[in-house]
């Protein structure tokens, strides 16, 4: 009388079985495949956001330029910000977390694999939903309260590419009432609000999943303070998502209600408060900044020790500083609003709170320097990006401190100084960190190493382009270049630096092309990585590359921090690392054992339902936008039916399927393996 025997099996539902081809991807619940899909989708949106940025830069390279219409310009900067934050940096962070978190903590998958697939598909359809505004959305000029029509926004005014104007144009921050029903009629801002709602849902689901995974699925012996720092930062990010996303969800629902159902939360005409939106948005928006940067900090904390051949300096300080940043991040939101007319007491309080964030941030930077100090530094591509991160992030951090000097911020806010600051943090910081991670963990995906020459070309082009683009923006801002300006007159004397900035932007674009070429060719013809290409420290490298579907053939047991390193190295009496005599043998065994599980491994079975459930959600949201029409109401119904049927299917689908991975008899041929020491310097 076992529980499984009693369980009624719904025979009409069969688990999908494809292990290759498109169906294996559509139905997968494997955290690695999901991570890869997240990564490619995020990169696709990165390209879109980048093209938007280049169009903006073409417009700004000349004073009084008329390359874009005002409507197209506003739409492009709105979509650039929205895309880079919600469709690129966030999901690429999710890609890393998905792929790596289970590997770093020694698990075979996340706690809720189907939920994981659901959050990925919701993200994917959310991105498509948001971008479908270019095809279906409309952006109209406001009609004044007295009924005097504004002139047609999309077509009005000089410039070209006016067709781009039919997308959200209220800024990624959607300040009210400009983004409200009165001043942004048309449907584009609804696509924005509801698109973000869908994307937020995806992140919220995955945050719960990651938290449960970290607390329940760690390998034997892996105490919390033995987790790699990236796992720690992922956990912190998951908590940030969990606490901050409900706030933006509520705020976006309020906007949607204002726009669709005539509520007046943010409309002054009905006693609503436009500043309330700012409080809600930044109460989410500031933790969001740390959601974007902390994964990169985690990556850098993995990469620096490996290529310095030293443990992370002050491990627990780095971990707790990350947690402190996250905690403080909830108490500083009003520093985005120093000019909004909040009381001096509030301004002073939020200014001081903002200053305190510099302390844990400084701790991290100093510990990273301490890690490199006295090391044996190999300047590989991932290391270059990691060091670049530390340098560029320091600049962003320092300009961040100037914002906490409230009166100084009154001058700087809403100028290009701010644009410079957050690009130093989010591009010089997050993106450099993420590239460090891509180069570092590429072997885990492919079993190859990315071409080091191309990698370094990419780094230096990006480094130079980045600084050419964003360093002059500090100066431009202080010289009075206001943000979100379609045009500036020649008299304000800002043109020369804007030319430099545009040249820098195209340099970055060139560096990304080098990266794409490198990725493409290295996947096919890259040098084989072997099991341990970097002489790494953490247990994700104890399993062969590319990572087998089951991650670990045998569940790892961890006895200390940097467990993998200590399998290979002892310390002499001076405290110097000494490679064990049998280190290569250990690696050979790991490689062999990793490919040849001794017992059948049960993996979570694939499922159709996460995909189907996710399909229903954007359909409902399309219906909400067009709810006044019959077909809009029909869409809501259809979407709800799809999602709810998937929910039922999800609930009753059979739990047990045959595991696709069977143990095989040891094949002697596999014993021949090559140990490759990659020297990418």
């Amino acid at each position: 009388m076992t529980a499984t025997a009693e369980r009624p099996q719904a025979t009409i539902f069969k688990r999908p079985t494809a292990t290759t081809g498109i169906w294996s991807w559509l139905t997968t619940v494997d955290h690695k495949k999901i991570g890869i899909m997240y990564g490619y989708a995020a990169f696709f949106f990165f390209i879109l956001g980048g093209i938007e940025a280049l169009l903006l830069r073409i417009q700004l390279a000349q004073a009084d330029a008329e390359f874009l219409t005002a409507g197209a310009y506003n739409a492009l900067f709105t979509m650039h910000g929205t895309t880079m934050v919600f469709l690129f940096v966030m999901p690429v962070g999710a890609a890393f977390m998905n792929y790596l978190l289970p590997l770093l903590i020694g698990a075979r998958d996340v706690a809720f694999p189907r939920l994981n697939a659901l959050s990925w598909w919701i993200f994917f359809f959310g991105g498509i939903f948001l971008y479908s505004t270019f095809f279906f959305g409309t952006s109209l000029a406001p009609i004044s309260p007295e009924g005097i029509p504004g002139n047609l926004a999309a077509a009005g005014g000089p410039g070209t590419l006016h067709f781009l104007a039919d997308s959200p144009d209220g800024g990624w921050f959607g300040y009210q009432p400009n983004a409200g029903p009165l001043y942004s009629p048309g449907t584009a801002m609804d696509y924005w609000a509801l698109g973000l709602q869908i994307l937020g849902l995806a992140s919220l689901i995955s945050s719960v999943n990651f938290i449960v995974t970290v607390f329940n699925m760690r390998a034997k012996g892996m105490r919390l303070l033995r987790m790699p720092v990236f796992a720690w930062m992922s956990t912190v990010v998951a908590f940030l998502l969990l606490f901050s996303l409900p706030i933006i969800a509520v705020a976006l629902f309020m906007v949607t209600f204002d726009r669709q159902f005539g509520t007046l939360f943010f409309a002054p005409v009905g006693g609503g408060d436009p500043i309330l939106w700012q409080h809600l948005f930044w109460l989410f928006g500031h933790p969001e900044v740390y959601i974007l940067i902390l994964p990169a900090m985690g990556i850098v904390s993995e990469v620096l020790p490996v290529f310095s051949r030293k443990p992370l300096f002050g491990y627990s300080a780095v971990v707790f500083a990350g947690a402190a940043i996250a905690f403080l991040g909830f108490g500083v939101w009003a520093h985005h609003m120093f000019a909004s007319g909040i009381t001096p007491v509030a301004q002073a309080a939020f200014g001081l709170a903002t200053m305190t964030i510099a302390i844990p941030t400084g701790i991290k930077i100093f510990n990273w320097l301490g890690t490199m100090w006295g090391g044996r530094i190999r300047l590989t591509t991932p290391m270059l990006f990691a060091v670049g991160f530390v340098a560029m992030f320091t600049i962003g951090g320092l300009s961040g401190v100037t914002h906490s000097i409230v009166p100084s911020d009154w001058q700087q806010t809403d100028t290009y100084y701010i644009v410079a600051h957050f690009h130093y943090v989010l591009f010089g910081g997050a993106v450099f960190g993420l590239f460090a991670g891509l180069y570092y963990w590429f072997p885990k995906l492919t079993g190859k190493v990315m071409n080091p020459t191309l990698g370094k070309t990419h780094f230096w082009l990006q480094f130079i382009g980045f600084n050419l683009t964003f360093a002059p923006m500090h100066w431009l801002g202080l010289q009075g270049m206001v943000r979100r300006t379609w045009k500036y007159p020649a008299e304000v004397g800002l043109e020369p630096w804007n030319v430099v900035v545009t040249i820098g932007a195209f340099t970055i674009a060139a560096s990304i092309l080098v990266f794409m070429y490198n990725w493409y060719t290295s996947r096919r013809r890259g040098q084989d990585s072997g099991i341990d290409p970097w002489d790494a420290r953490t247990i994700e490298w104890t399993t062969p590359n590319p990572t087998p579907e089951y991650n670990f053939a045998t569940a790892p047991v961890v006895s200390r921090l940097d467990a993998f390193w200590h399998m290979k190295y002892d310390e002499d009496e001076e405290g110097r690392a000494v490679r064990k005599d049998d280190a290569d043998e250990i690696l050979a065994h790991l490689e062999y054992d990793g490919r040849n599980p001794s017992a059948p491994i049960h993996l979570p079975s694939p499922s159709y339902f996460p995909l189907i459930m996710a399909v229903g959600i954007p359909i409902i949201f399309y219906g909400i936008i067009y709810h006044t029409t019959m077909w809009g109401k029909a869409l809501i119904l259809i979407g709800a039916v799809i999602s709810l049927s998937a929910l039922i299917g999800w609930g009753i689908e059979p739990l047990e399927e045959e595991s696709p991975v069977e143990a095989e008899d040891a094949d002697e041929e596999d014993m021949e393996l090559e140990l490759v020491e990659v020297d990418d310097e």
Partner: protein, 369 residues
């Protein structure tokens, strides 16, 4: 000497020498071009929106605070970047076979305390002048002259309640006197920013925000709306003109006067007729010396700038026109011909005026000094 030696080298005999000479020349040219360009890049004094030329006590205090923090940040910057460079040179793997592995240091509680406490102390030191400046610079002095600033898509309106004046785009203030800007918005959020005089402050519909202003020197200061306020946000600019007291009194007196109702048959009369017969009177207030002829649009209604003293203002259309490359008349002509073509989304529609009508209107508008 070297030059002579080089010129003696026959080009064709030594292609490398030729190449080198070309290279020197080209680099020289490029270098000169870059030098010239960078001179242009670092040229200052020609940026009317710069924050580095404060002309009021408040802006000066902000500027001082900025430089204080800037230099502290620069020290930190140099230390961190210097450390990175030193580390990369000193500790880079020498790749020799017998190189020893590094000592496996795990951290140092002493250092952790040091680099926690020192930044905290520095920040505490910066916090003192910051907080006092916040309290000193946000409130208006008692008895300051009040100017109400009302934001519209996409121009600033200024009301002088004591003086009962309404004007647009150009705020006129007496020099060396505290002025209190009481600000609100008629539609969306705007942000009033005149860098030489103070930092930014939002204009929020349904609320009143305060910005204390004072100019230490007479002159014209440029401003810009700094909060994204819709389609033509980039074309919402402002000017503040600071005058000597007596001049300001004269200005107030002149602004309080109504303008002359044109006599029938004059060229101004024709322009006035165009104004009456097209939709202009739906939005624009004009006070005439003949009160019965005055056109008063109530504040609650949708309105455009008051035109009574239109020609007393050097700029119009949100302080965007006239541009540097056109005369006042040319700019006005272009504007009246098709406002949305200059300012996308403008509430002043294209009225399809004929050239004659435009010329007449300009004559009348220019008479409203």
């Amino acid at each position: 000497m070297k030059l002579v030696a080089r010129s003696e080298t026959p080009y064709d005999a030594d292609p490398m020498a030729r190449f080198r000479q070309h290279l020197t020349r080209t680099t020289g040219l490029i270098g000169t071009a870059l030098l010239l360009a960078s001179c242009q890049l670092f040229e200052t004094g020609d940026q009317p929106l710069t924050t580095f030329e404060p002309q009021s006590p408040a802006a000066e205090r902000i500027d001082d605070l900025f430089w204080l923090v800037f230099w502290i940040a620069t020290v930190v910057f140099v230390l961190v970047m210097g450390a990175i460079v030193v580390i990369l040179f000193v500790f880079r793997d020498k790749k020799s076979e017998d190189a020893k592995e590094p000592k496996q240091l795990h951290g140092s509680p002493k250092l952790e305390v040091i680099w926690t406490v020192i930044p905290a102390l520095i920040l505490a030191a910066i916090a003192v002048p910051t907080v006092s400046a916040v309290f000193d610079l946000t409130e208006c002095e008692d008895g300051a002259m009040v100017v109400e600033v009302i934001g519209h898509q996409w121009w600033f309106e200024y009301h002088y309640p004591e003086e009962d004046i309404s004007t647009a785009n150009v705020m006129v203030i007496p020099v060396d006197q505290p002025v209190c800007a009481e600000m609100t918005s008629d539609d969306v959020l705007h942000n009033f920013w005149v860098p030489a005089l103070h930092g930014k402050r939002y204009l929020v519909p349904g609320q009143t925000t305060i910005l204390p202003l004072e100019a230490s020197e007479t002159g014209e200061y440029w401003g810009h709306c700094a909060e994204f306020c819709g389609l033509s946000h980039s074309l919402m600019r402002a000017r503040v003109v600071a005058m000597e007291d007596s001049e300001f009194e004269d200005w107030v007196g002149a602004q309080q006067e109504p303008t002359t109702l044109p006599a029938e048959g004059t060229p101004e009369w024709d322009g006035y007729q165009v104004f009456l017969n097209k939709a202009c009177t739906q939005c624009h207030t004009v006070r005439f010396d003949d009160e019965t002829a005055s056109i008063i649009i109530p504040d609650e209604a949708f309105n455009g700038p008051e035109l009574t003293h239109f020609a007393s203002r050097e700029v119009f259309a949100g302080a965007v026109l006239p541009g540097s490359d056109q005369t006042y008349q040319q700019a006005l002509k272009n504007w009246l011909a098709n406002p949305p073509a200059i300012k996308p989304g403008s509430y002043m529609p294209n009225l399809a005026l004929t050239e004659q009508e435009i010329n007449d209107l300009i004559v009348w508008l220019e008479s409203n000094e």
